[in-house]
Symmetry: C2
Subunit: 226 residues, 2 copies
DNA sequence: TGGGTAATAATGTGATCACATTATTAGGGT
DNA sequence: ACCCTAATAATGTGATCACATTATTACCCA
């Protein structure tokens, strides 16, 4: 038997992670139509694995089902953005606190290295790299704790915000971003729960939470029409 | 053309909601194997809609995928229970606060009527009815606000806890339950955000949050073996 | 030239089959 | 009586086809 791929047991799983990665990096613009046959052709697989992958991504609200049963990348709204920010703060601060006690000095060094990548992405104004490394920092942190229930919820929220985030960063640049990650790693080193909670909350608030009406308008005009 | 069902546009949707309802009522015991062909035969449909429905429920973590790709109703663990309680408190208090301003006196009367059903279910010791009406009270409350992002997260958490909850209630009865819903409706009537937040948090803490090690042991012995 | 209509294409859903993998059962040897 | 093994059954995945619905295009008439 040949070995088509080592990482994934099934094709639908491979397709799922490929699409997930594309969405998380913001390579799919809000409003974009996502069809089974279209993706199948793009990834050179039969429609079946794509159908299953899209069902899963839709259930995670990374994609949205229209009335006509067609799948699209959802547009951002003020209400959705508000909820994403609030929910991310609530869930990610909890996940961070549950992780803190389990983080060794080696783990901490790794987190700092990840943060360096984030800083570098900001310096060179690479929006895609910033989104990806920033996510990696957060998820790596949370994965150190027993967060198997909370993590999928957090990931769903990132999936929902990534296409919008990418669109905005492309437009207004990465200059407005501040770095609260150092504050977070310092808090972890000091085992200071309150400081960590504040650092995570500030990071979210000053990142995606700082975006408002103007950015929403940019996103709706730049994305695919409704 | 005949009209097979008025509520749902597709068969997979009908199957999804049927299974969802069964899970939410706790009719599926933790550890139970859920097979495509088995459900298809049970609901008298072809395997295809079942496959799609299971994919969706798995993505929502109502069901779990084993290493061998088979689907089961997941077992509860202490860690999972902790996270569910914490996340529910964080998300549901937010959803309630976002809903409060939009609740009219008629809406409030409706909520009180729903709470009466909950109270009655407790009185007659009907576990399934309690679980269902209690969920209905909470969701009806949250749906009054702009919670389209938060609500699916909350529903996922209920789906994850329902089979365990049912098992425990069957064993230890509904006697331990307290009613914090009146406190919640009173807070809404008074537009008292802090009181509402406390009522919701207490309701969760004194409901599923009060269950500990003994109940987890009951659940693991009563459910299907791992 | 503009708008409504018919023809055409594209899309999601569902059914069925084949196949590889895994679980279960049956049987035999010690 | 117990464990290992072979035979059998069950299961998920993927492919392909048919079909109804919906979107898009083309066309003709005013």
């Amino acid at each position: 038997m040949s070995e088509p791929n080592t990482e994934f047991k099934t094709q639908q799983e491979r397709v799922y992670f490929q699409l997930r990665e594309a969405i998380l990096c913001g390579r799919f613009v809000p409003g974009r139509a996502v069809t089974i046959r279209g993706i199948a052709e793009m990834l050179d697989v039969s429609p079946m694995p794509v159908r299953e992958a899209l069902r899963r991504l839709t259930a995670e609200h990374a994609l949205a089902l229209q009335d006509n049963r067609r799948v699209t990348v959802p547009h951002m709204t003020a209400s959705r953005l508000e909820q994403i920010v609030e929910a991310r703060i609530a869930l990610e601060t909890q996940a961070a606190l549950r992780a803190m006690a389990h983080i060794s000095t080696d783990d901490l060094a790794h987190l700092k290295a990840l943060d360096d990548q984030v800083t570098q992405a900001i310096e060179v104004q690479d929006a895609e790299s910033y989104i990806r490394t920033n996510l990696e920092f957060h998820l790596t942190l949370y994965r150190h704790g027993p967060n198997e229930v909370i993590l999928p919820l957090i990931e769903s929220l990132w999936l929902q915000s990534a296409p919008f985030m990418r669109l905005v960063l492309n437009r207004i640049g990465l200059g407005y971003l501040t770095d609260r990650h150092v504050q977070a790693t310092d808090a972890i080193a000091a085992r200071d729960a309150l400081a960590l909670k504040l650092a995570i909350a500030s990071d979210i608030r000053e990142g995606i939470g700082a975006l408002g009406q103007e950015e929403l308008e940019v996103a709706t005009t730049e994305g695919e029409p409704i």
